[in-house]
């Protein structure tokens, strides 16, 4: 699909809120304000029809390409890890945003656009996607670009192991135990690399 590289007023592509706009706890937005609705880390370019299909849906499991699944949305095999790390970033950057697993609460839409309705999920699925779809070169480049404009980074792209420390109650010691999966191996190699980097830096 060929799209304009610059913003064309939504004619061919949308600025999609990965953590949906209606679940950000805001009932009004001033277009010139800097807030959770304008955070560049949470905005992705999207075809207009995909944006409409995703709408306010939470993320639920699926396979293959992006599509509606039950009351949620599956972003596609190649995007699920990116989505997970964006949602993790939003949850730690804005402390009033809640990341949960409860299907009943997630399916409730009557408190959208309120602080009480500022919730997203499904946490257990996002944690799985983080492991199944590791960080790509595209995500790293995007993180660098946003940091140069907005001045902050998505730490879960720089430090994927933080996800396990925050949401899976792991310790650094847990992460350094002998490994059984390639993902864990990647994480440990990453920690070792950083340790070596800092050791050299401060030697």
């Amino acid at each position: 699909m060929m799209l304009n590289a610059t913003w064309d007023g939504g004619a061919t592509w949308n600025r999609e809120h990965v953590w949906p706009n209606s679940r950000l706890g805001m009932d009004r937005v001033d277009g010139y304000e800097k807030n959770q609705a304008s955070d560049l880390h949470n905005l992705r370019a999207s075809s207009v029809s995909i944006n409409s299909s995703k709408s306010d849906r939470v993320f639920l499991d699926g396979s293959g390409v992006a599509d509606i699944t039950s009351y949620g949305f599956y972003p596609g095999d190649d995007h699920r890890g990116d989505v997970a790390r964006i949602i993790f970033y939003m949850a730690i950057t804005y402390d009033f945003l809640e990341l949960i697993d409860d299907d009943t609460l997630l399916a409730n839409e009557d408190d959208h656009y309120t602080l009480e309705g500022a919730r997203m999920g499904k946490l257990s699925i996002l944690l799985a996607w983080h492991k199944q779809d590791p960080i790509s070169e595209f995500e790293i480049a995007r993180n660098n670009r946003i940091a140069s404009i907005q001045g902050n980074r998505n730490p879960f792209i720089d430090h994927p192991e933080f996800v396990h420390l925050i949401w899976e109650n792991k310790t650094i010691g847990d992460l350094l135990k002998p490994v059984t999966t390639s993902y864990q191996h990647d994480v440990i190699m990453y920690i070792d690399f950083r340790k070596e980097h800092y050791d050299n830096l401060y030697a």
Partner: protein, 133 residues
């Protein structure tokens, strides 16, 4: 600029995602809505989708909250609540945050110009920030 005449009644204006329930039946309607709407997404359209009579336009700037009316789909729709009472595919709860409930006392009109919505009773929803200045 496109104008439609609306009969007297109670209307909901908001994101289709908040009006169609996320059930198998609701999803069947909304899938067809998107297939139909995106054939001519620049137009303000009056559509009948599987028995649901609705008006729909895209917004000028995609997702957002426009004078208290929000959208995650980049579109806003208008539906006469009185015509769809007891339709299990729809959530027509009035006065929800992020949506606008309109009581039209008489026959009225709704116009969309540059993706801004205006009703003949004076209510407007501006989605094009160039027109806010």
């Amino acid at each position: 600029m496109t104008t439609y005449t609306l009969k007297k009644g109670t209307y909901l204006c908001g994101d289709p995602a908040m009006i169609f329930k996320k059930t198998e039946e609701g999803d069947r309607v909304i899938r067809q809505l998107w297939d139909t709407f995106y054939l001519d997404m620049q137009a303000f359209q009056h559509l009948m989708i599987q028995g649901v009579d609705l008006y729909i336009t895209r917004t000028a700037e995609g997702d957002g909250v426009y004078q208290g009316v929000g959208t995650d789909t980049g579109t806003l729709m208008l539906i006469c609540v009185d015509d769809h009472l007891n339709d299990e595919r729809l959530n027509l709860t009035l006065h929800r945050p992020g949506m606008k409930t309109l009581e039209l006392e008489d026959q009225s009109t709704v116009t969309v110009n540059r993706f801004n919505i205006s009703f003949s009773n004076g209510i407007t929803i501006i989605t094009n920030s160039d027109d806010m200045r």
